[in-house]
Symmetry: C2
Subunit: 187 residues, 2 copies
Amino acid sequence: MSRWEPNARGRLEESALELYTEQGFDETTVAEIAERAGLTERTFFRHFTDKREVLFGGQDALLQLFVDSIGGAPEAVSPLDAVGAALATAGPFFESRHLHARRRQAVIAANPRLQERELIKLASIAVAIADALRRRGTPDSTSTLAAEAGVAVFKVAFDRWVHKGRRDQLPQFIGDAMDELRAVSSS
Amino acid sequence: MSRWEPNARGRLEESALELYTEQGFDETTVAEIAERAGLTERTFFRHFTDKREVLFGGQDALLQLFVDSIGGAPEAVSPLDAVGAALATAGPFFESRHLHARRRQAVIAANPRLQERELIKLASIAVAIADALRRRGTPDSTSTLAAEAGVAVFKVAFDRWVHKGRRDQLPQFIGDAMDELRAVSSS
């Protein structure tokens, strides 16, 4: 078998999600994932540190997208608008991964330890967004509030998109949830 | 030793926090906590299931306070105002525990696993607040957004109160952070 496998990462993700869905996350081994993908365990570990990273590895890339977007926002843009624009960059990121996202969500919902990991990842995204706002000169507590509110908006919008949206609708759902947050805060 | 120990729970909490501060949470045993409090391990386990519960046991009572307050809010009160009023009930709850809260915060900040536990507890408070809002008839996503924004407000206010506030200032800090959230959301 050659060292380079075409789309090995994608095949491993696909196989892992199938197995987590069919038989549960805890019951699935890396050997089974590699076998289903027609690849070796060695290849698995070239792409992922463990079977949990198949579910959470992408979030670091997402976090970096958000942070870069906030860093590049014009000075005149308000903190929450900068967060809203950053969240919308998740649209293209997830557009080709709608089914993947839906399956992933179901796997996580079925496993309390994965839910905890998801919470911790979301909290680390909020911390990174708040730091990015602070670097733009937003006051400390305003940064924290805008970041936490932004992550709440993202959770609501993402959940709706996963269950009820079309693949290209995530940015629209984020905009709608942001409007809802503004409505909640002004009443 | 009689079965009833005056203020055993308070003495155990005090001793536990002292030891966690002096030598670290992981390094402290229940036997040491009981010894420092002049009580037995048996007495410890009548009050707490384990040494972690000394830090997190109070949050269930807090969650119940919040839920009861939202359940009792007049119908005309907006969701976010109901959340704000609920959060303010934490004032009397924490007023006699300012030093305790400060020490607890320092112990948690020093230990990543305790930070994770704190995040999960705060997330469960957000879920409970959202459920309480839904029971009042607030739409699903509005309930989630108001609850998550409320918990963000609480985190910011509590942190400020622990580090910079007087013991009676928590409700005021919650009001200030709520105003900040509204300002962030309207700009």
